[in-house]
Point group: C2
Chain length 491, copies 2
């Protein structure tokens, strides 16, 4: 197969774009900025969804579904929200087409113009809080812990598969609480859920932190985030969780009677992760041979490739392979036996390497005689021979080790690429030559943040939750600072 | 709780609308024709999805995701498809809003007009076949067996919760095949999958059949369907599966090289079921006390309600209940212990009846003494007392029996409400007085079908697959007919 990838060192961005398409994860569609998620890519997303959904349910959340469309007037109600979101949206203005009287095609029926335009949801706070007004009267109705899996649309000018697309898939949690403390805790809890998911399932280590004011969600009082570091030294925001205060409750007049019978505005959170996680997954682990998938998210965990001459030998091999396949399945391991006769083993090896299948088992004439299998693991590309009676255990061990090894490697990379800067010169040099996270003192002002961004393209990724209190001076202004924040160029 | 329902006999339609809202399944949103699916309703839909998704995967299908938007020009490519679908759609014409210079709100930015309008998908054949052209070159690429779970929009003028909404959730399968036979078989297979799902999980008996020409999907050569009968004698189309011939392949120029190296157009199917199934589920089983849910789709299968005076007695009851709850859970049964002290047992009983929880377990002072529990089942409203050591088995048996009983009851109703008519007078009288399915001879012409519909509002629901060959005369035209078809008024 002529699926040679561009090397990461040559052109990281090109490598990523090629990999997404060649590994059959996704491709651009005929609709500007919208992608088609192909079966192999969607199977990974389904595994992510299943794990996250269980974590949401384990923390007491229920799923729900709100409309795709938001009346234009809803968007204006929360002032800072509209500033952040309303601008680049898909707008529905008509509800009917008709045959073109002057031609062959169809045209918009101007008689079917909506009285009020509908916006395709870029996020659902407004329509949800308009609904919560009807659902919440008393403290007994609280907390309301809801989530929805949905598609959203933001009219991005420059799009990239998974990382930034006009339409994307996500989940959005929207919770309502009786007290400020409870809502704040919920927002923090969901950030921790995201971090645990990223580290445990994706093998992607993340920094847990708070966004600076200018990077906060439009309408939030505080935004928690998890930030991951990609192999090219750029950061990627992998999930956010917002403490919304009483902003949406006030904008949509959502009050409740507390235990003392007094009326108060409801406290809110919202939190989301999207198909962008696919980008983070790909860019964290994959290499010049293709995708590398952590076993917990791999659609196929083990592939078995026969190396044979003639039908008879294939039959002998199949006799050994089919019971092994069944036994692996019984252990909950997803396995594929690729006995296609239209492709050579070498072609298949390349294909499964490209697709990131964690463990490959090969069996040929020599193995038949010796009663062995050849194992290979995708992360280290190691190969070794195992006796038939030990192959199940070897596979199980390898899958576990690989899940852990990918995390360890990525954490090692993150640690090595997190550097302190103690002057603006040093800062600029680090950002320029190494990229990665740069930990530096900042005076806490948006003005300084903006100037640094303008001059270096680096932004404050987060104020880490484990920030040490440390007196220092802002690298840009020289003004006093109480602790370091993390800067990086970002996706 | 003042959740008194209108009785079915009084006003079936009102009963349905009230039930959907009072049982917390769904409600209308602030957006015309779009519903909010509430947590309890969505939990049922999730169970439907999980079962169907497994059935699709077991028959070799993979999930995928295609864009929400379809360029207007795509819709014109398949001539009969555009006639059937393009008319009542949500049309996106702009991609930006801006602050109103003359006022407070936001307005559409006229500078951000799309060159070509985008249609919010009413169904995805066009964009999918435009993509399949790139994916299919050779017979080796076939069959392509794909499905997507998605939201779609059809601008309906009259909407009803679950039954007909502007936006609804569904799955749409789209498959591509090398031969006519294989595609036809696939379409028939998926109809059978739907029928099995309806009968096994929903306990809804269905008639398997073919649509007449005028009721076929726009662009299909043959439409298979499953039809269910509601308690008011109206039929409900619960799922359709279409054999599309080469229509979409020709419209989108999708050819493949067959084994002989010759180019041919690809054969297609598409098939879908939607949140409309929720309507079928509700209307088939529920009664004047509220929802009745088949155990396999019930979000809560067993509810345990304590009847107690004072904290101490509640503690004694909890001591008996908590191990029972754990044991039921261990058996894979979903169970809720409702120990809220803010509501009386009678209130709770009504609430769970309204919500269709299959089995209720009550335990009070007398049960504590006697070592018993009181069981009640939702379909028959029977109550009986069971010794503590037999309660698990009793619950398991009851859940199984109830699943079967609901099916048997509905089948009995369907059988009793399927009648033969041998003259047009008889036909009209049956439709008028009894409703239900009326089995009658038809001459096979659209003209006759249209006239009958105009005069009686009854339509041909399907030509049953188990139709007997039987010479007869069309009840309307007197022309010869080879077998009976099923008529009914329908949702």
């Amino acid at each position: 197969m002529s699926k040679k990838l561009t090397k990461r060192a040559e052109d990281y961005s090109k490598w990523y774009n090629e990999l997404v398409v060649k590994a059959d994860l996704a491709e651009n569609s005929g609709v500007r900025g919208c992608m088609v998620i192909k079966p192999y890519g969607y199977a990974i997303w389904e595994k992510m969804q299943a794990a996250l959904d269980q974590m949401f349910k384990d923390t007491g959340h229920q799923n729900v579904y709100f409309p795709l469309f938001i009346p234009k007037s809803y968007l204006s109600k929360e002032a800072s929200h509209v500033e952040g979101f309303a601008k680049e949206c898909a707008v529905v203005t008509h509800y009917r087409l008709k045959n073109d009287p002057d031609g062959e095609g169809i045209i918009v029926d101007e008689d079917a113009k909506l009285e009020e335009e509908l916006i395709v949801r870029p996020t659902s706070e407004t329509i949800i809080w308009d609904t919560y007004r009807r659902w919440i009267q008393s403290y007994r109705d609280l907390p309301l812990l809801l989530n929805q899996w949905a598609n959203v649309v933001r009219w991005e000018m420059r799009t990239r598969l998974f990382l930034r697309t006009a339409e994307f898939l996500w989940q959005e949690g929207h919770t309502a609480h009786a007290t400020r403390e409870e809502a704040y805790e919920e927002a923090e809890q969901m950030m921790r859920v995201y971090a645990e998911f990223a580290e445990k399932f994706m093998s992607v280590p993340v920094v847990r932190g708070l966004k600076s004011e200018s990077e906060r969600f439009a309408g939030a009082e505080e935004t928690f985030c998890i930030e991951a570091l990609m192999q090219d030294g750029k950061a990627l925001q992998a999930g956010t969780s917002h403490f919304l205060g009483q902003n949406f409750a006030k904008a949509f007049d959502v009050k409740f009677a507390n235990k003392e019978g007094k009326q108060d505005y409801v406290w809110a959170t919202s939190w989301g992760v999207s198909t962008r996680l696919m980008g983070a997954l790909i860019m964290t682990h994959s290499d010049d041979n293709g995708l590398v998938l952590p076993p917990l998210l791999a659609p196929i965990q083990v592939v078995i490739v026969p190396i044979y001459k003639g039908e008879e030998q294939l039959a002998q091999i199949a006799e050994k392979v089919l019971p092994l396949k069944e036994e692996l399945k019984a252990q909950g391991i997803s396995v594929k036996f690729d006995d296609r006769d239209t492709f050579k083993p070498g072609y298949k090896f390349n294909e499964y390497e490209l697709k990131g299948v964690p463990v490959r088992i090969a069996i040929g004439a020599r193995d038949l005689e010796a009663g062995t299998f050849e194992l290979a693991r995708r992360d280290t590309l190691q190969k070794w021979t195992v006796n038939a009676d030990q192959v199940i255990e070897a596979v199980q061990t390898t899958l576990k080790e690989m899940q852990q090894n990918l995390f360890d490697q990525a954490l090692e990379f993150q640690t090595q690429n997190t550097r302190e800067a103690n002057s603006y010169e040093e800062f600029k040099s680090l950002i320029e030559t190494h990229g990665g996270f740069v930990s530096a003192h900042w005076d806490g002002t948006t003005d300084t943040e903006d100037r640094i961004k303008e001059e270096t393209k680096a932004t404050i990724r987060c104020i880490p939750l484990n920030q040490k209190t440390e007196d220092g001076q802002c690298i840009y202004s020289g003004n006093p600072s109480k602790g370091r924040v993390l800067f990086a160029k970002a996706y």
